[in-house]
Symmetry: C2
Subunit: 276 residues, 2 copies
């Protein structure tokens, strides 16, 4: 693991690190915020999965999460959204290939050898940060935005007992029924729609639900409402009798101005359960 | 004036606007955050002047100021750092020309016709925002980072009775004695060092001081300490018996991770005086 940068932030440290990923067969970069408490004791961790086109950097610099994580004594991890590099397949579209890993393990050419973001987030990166930093891996929570909200919810519902709480900002909520989903799931997983269903949080919500509490925020002025399909997830949460809150936030759009506005409440929500 | 974008943020609105500037003879862009209160009554305003290489956008997206401005009921204005465009002079260096206006009125070719950032910030932009938005121009305060800290302090000390309070993050504090200063002041103002002295906050502090309170934060691990010369300003503040606080912040560097960490305290400091 190499240190790319470390900047003091809110009494703690915002680091950026890179490492050779076996899951993705390329060098991967991630951001990690450690609050001051981590100098003395292992701290709980909140995962933040980012959306289409983002790297590890966007949320780390624009979501304003460090202020609240420092206050609560929680680490934040900001993974990249896909494998990257010259030897990694790509597409001219912003929503396929590099920057658009969709948190799945690709089975189809040309994506299969590198695009294994599910294994990277579910297995490899937790093992790495658990061994390299003062993080208590028995206390994890997860959130994300857009494609990252999709990733957060699907990982939370699938990895039983991994996360104590799950939240999302404007998640891609029903990808098997949206152009943000059918395109990527088709490319990465092929035509077998049964494989797609494991990566649709509305379907997983109906089938499994999540054992902990769920918080979802969605702006009413989001320019991508037709692609996100929040109503399907809201309906599924209620049908499931899921312990959870789905909030429509009047006038907010899909941007980091929306995310940063509600970040304090998401961090506090997770902190309540991480420190329960 | 044209609306470039408007995003709902912390109950208020983060806008970006452009206009034909007479001071700079080109189109200029600025960011403006209005808290919810501005729907009903004119609110006080805090100016944030940015540093070298920045546009209006950097602080608006990375400094985390909107959270605190919303809490205090204060507008934020984020001007650009120089004139821009194809017809505007430039230099290959990051610290001269576009992105490096240094908050002066250039008198020398090729800069003179456009590089009039002093007049833009002191006269034109206040008149524009005072007429177009619900801002109480009798209650203004100013802050900034690096080159923008230099701009904030020099404007505050020169424009008597304009600002109730002034602060800075890692300001270029003694530009007449630094490579961050002699290069730009020489290029924009020529060889007459008497003209430079009006743009050196350490010299102005000795000569005038500031009628209101001053807050300065400087990281001890700032990679540009030799260029910023904070010791000269700290000495001048004490010699002047200036109402003010100069804080060395252990381990912090020159980045937005430093700025965002202390933004809450700067906004609260200004709010105390804007609402006095």
């Amino acid at each position: 693991m190499k240190t790319v940068s470390e900047n003091r932030s809110f009494g703690g440290m915002q680091g950026v690190y890179s490492h050779e990923s076996s899951a993705c067969s390329c060098e991967m970069t991630f951001g990690l915020f450690l609050p001051e408490e981590a100098r003395h004791v292992p701290v709980p961790v909140l995962w933040y999965l980012s959306g289409l086109t983002c790297t590890h950097d966007n949320a780390m610099t624009k979501a304003g999460a460090q202020a609240w994580a420092a206050q609560e004594g929680i680490a934040l991890v900001f993974p990249d959204t896909s494998p990257r590099g010259e030897g990694v397949a790509n597409d001219d579209a912003y929503d396929l290939g590099q920057g658009a890993g969709f948190y799945v393990n690709a089975t189809q050419a040309p994506w299969a050898p590198h695009f294994r973001m599910w294994d990277y987030i579910a297995e490899e990166l937790p093992a790495l940060i658990g061994s390299e930093f003062a993080i208590d891996m028995d206390r994890q929570a997860i959130t994300g935005h857009s494609m990252g909200g999709h990733g957060a919810l699907t990982l939370a519902m699938t990895l039983k007992d991994r996360f104590v709480s799950a939240s999302a900002f404007a998640p891609i909520a029903n990808p098997t029924q949206s152009d943000w989903g059918t395109k990527q799931l088709g490319a990465y997983l092929g035509d077998d729609r049964a494989a797609w269903q494991k990566h649709d949080s509305s379907l997983l919500m109906i089938e499994h639900g999540f054992d902990g509490p769920v918080l979802v925020d969605q702006g009413t002025s989001d320019q991508f409402l037709d692609l996100l399909k929040p109503e399907t997830l809201a309906e599924a949460m209620v049908k499931r009798r899921q312990d959870g809150v789905f909030r429509m936030q009047k006038g907010y759009d899909h941007s980091y101005f929306f995310i940063s506005t509600f970040m304090e409440e998401h961090v506090a929500f997770h902190a309540e359960h991480l420190y329960a």
